[in-house]
């Protein structure tokens, strides 16, 4: 087997060294009853035949290279520089382990430190951890932190937060016997302020609002932090990190915690994973945040060095007293986001935000002119928006997919009250030709 170096000669010599006659002597502790069951799995005869098989299976997928896609809803098609893919392919990065031995891992540790710095800067908060599994689990951990910190038992969340985020949050909260309460949104997609104020009692440990929210609407959070803090509650904002070059940052809104999905920072959509949950907090909450943290220190010679720090919060030390059980996280994805943000830089993060705003607004204007289609114009949007059509979404989809266009996400299965509406996304990857082609196809439905 071409991954296994031992030859039959090696095996015989090794057994001799051990004083064992046969390999089976080493399995003396394993009951015979267990060993009789042989396994049988599929196999490919050679590497190139395997590759042909994989390519064949891949052809059963439509993808964003072959098809013009306007899908958003938590996973986005963004430009990822070629340099990023090259750097992530450095063997020393992707085949390295968690940096428990700092002298052997300064590359990974310094990159983690830079990632933490970039996220802190983007979110305008003091501290960031080195990653979570995804935006949804990052939010769940933020919810648990808020409840531990305040000693309360309830989290209040806007329904305009991504359905998967809310579902995962619910799973985690209910597992610890906590409660989740939801408040609604207006017709224009913004959160319903009266309901929010009514449900915000001193029983609530944390409030969660997403901006831009699931419908692409940029939320107005004026006075929200004050209202939340007045009750001794924490404010958790789930923010699209790619929008933070142009939109007001969680720290600038007075949030205590910021979480969200980092896939947008140069990572492929890859059918939902692996993704990247970012997690940022105020200085006051630093010692309570879950996950790994890289810190700067000096070595015996006084040289700058990076180490994992505040490890006594983590599972391998606190064991049953740990705040979280997270161990392996999304290291390589965080590295990808770090490289992406470094390539884009100060100007690029602003430009890409402006481009997203530009493309989505152009598309929205053009669609609004199509007979039988209405768009949400009443609230500010980032890079996606809702469209309502007199034609059923299924009909639109079956007309457009054969033309090589994926028109959007049907909202009815996720929000029953929004039957007939679908979510359309246009990022910086769309050219005028792409957008005009889409509009033309919609008009012809």
């Amino acid at each position: 087997m071409h991954y296994h170096p031992l030859t039959d000669n090696d095996r015989q010599e090794m057994l001799r060294t051990m004083g064992a006659r046969r390999f089976e002597d080493l399995l003396v502790g394993v009951p015979e009853k267990l060993r009789s069951r042989e396994i049988s799995v599929s196999e490919s005869p050679s590497e190139f035949e395997l590759r042909k098989q994989i390519l064949k299976i891949g052809r059963e997928n439509l993808n964003s290279q072959s098809t013009l896609s306007f899908l958003g809803g938590g996973s986005y098609e963004h430009f990822s520089p070629a340099a990023l893919a090259e750097l992530l392919n450095r063997n020393e990065f992707y085949t390295a382990y968690t940096p428990y031995q700092p002298e052997a891992s300064q590359g990974t540790l310094q990159a983690m430190f830079e990632y933490q710095s970039l996220i802190a800067e983007l979110t305008a908060l003091a501290v960031s951890n080195a990653s979570h599994y995804d935006g949804a689990t990052s939010l769940a951990e933020a919810g648990l932190l808020a409840l531990r910190h305040t000693g309360r038992r309830k989290i209040l969340v806007a329904r305009s937060v991504h359905p998967h985020f809310r579902q995962v949050l619910r799973t985690y909260l209910e597992a610890a016997d906590f409660q989740l309460e939801e408040f609604g949104f207006e017709k224009d997609g913004r959160f319903r302020r009266e309901e929010f104020e009514e449900f915000l009692t001193s029983e609530v440990g944390g409030v969660v609002i997403q901006t831009p929210n699931f419908f692409g609407v940029i939320e107005d959070l004026e006075k929200v932090a004050d209202a939340v803090h007045d009750k001794g509650t924490l404010l958790i904002l789930a923010a699209n990190p790619l929008s933070l070059g142009v939109l007001r940052a969680p720290g600038e809104w007075g949030a205590d915690l910021a979480v969200g999905e980092g896939q947008v920072l140069g990572l492929p959509m890859s059918f939902g994973g692996p993704y990247l949950g970012y997690f940022a907090a105020t200085r006051e909450l630093m010692r309570k945040i879950p996950g790994r943290l890289a810190g700067m220190t000096i070595d015996r010679e006084g040289r700058r060095a990076f180490v994992l720090t505040l490890q006594a919060r983590e599972q391998h030390i606190r064991r049953k007293r740990a705040a979280s059980n997270i161990c392996t996280n999304e290291g390589l994805c965080a590295l990808g986001a770090c490289i992406y943000l470094t390539l884009l830089g100060k100007e690029g993060i602003r430009e890409v935000g402006e481009l997203n705003l530009d493309r989505a607004h152009y598309l929205r204007d053009e669609i609004s002119r199509i007979k039988g289609f209405r768009v949400n114009r009443d609230a500010p949007i980032f890079n996606e928006f809702t469209v309502v059509s007199n034609k059923p979404f299924g009909a639109i989809q079956s007309k457009l997919v054969p033309q090589g266009i994926l028109p959007g996400i049907d909202l009815a299965p996720l929000y029953p009250e929004m039957k007939g509406a679908f979510l359309v996304c246009a990022t910086e990857t769309k050219t005028k030709e792409d957008l005009d082609r889409f509009v033309k196809a919609l008009g012809a439905v």
Binding site: R287, L310, Q311, A312, I317, R318, R321
Partner: protein, 128 residues
């Protein structure tokens, strides 16, 4: 190793100093040496109830976390806040500036069950 005579001790290496009905608590010279460099102290909340023998605080070194147990039952009435920014003082002055918190006792008779200095010293020597 010093074990001041005016203090009382627990088997879990806390010391207690009585002032009226209040008891000031810290960890002993032996404990701070065992734990080695302390990087963080998680103090209890003000007015939190304490139960004799139950964990009420946590001390962290780089490599480990250690529970600190209440020597007596009662209520937390004061906290040594400076420990939060300078935990190293627990290592350098465990019986003085390195105190953790003060408990207002709810059952003063519990004081008599705490170890006297010689008994605690004996315990440390035999386990070492």
């Amino acid at each position: 190793m010093e074990f001041p005579d005016e203090l009382r001790y627990t088997q879990s290496h806390e010391w207690a100093r009585r002032e009226g009905n209040r008891v000031k608590v810290g960890i002993t010279e032996y404990a701070q040496q065992e734990i080695s460099d302390i990087v963080f102290v998680e103090l209890p909340k003000m007015s939190a109830p304490t139960v004799k023998g139950k964990a009420i605080s946590v001390v962290e070194s780089v490599k480990a976390a250690f529970d600190i147990y209440a020597p007596v039952s009662g209520t937390i009435v004061s906290l040594n806040i400076p420990l939060e920014t300078d935990p190293a003082v627990v290592n350098s002055d465990p019986y003085g500036r390195g105190w953790f918190f003060e408990i207002e006792m709810s059952q003063p008779s519990e004081w008599e069950t705490l170890l006297k200095a010689e008994d605690y010293r004996t315990q440390c020597i035999t386990t070492h």
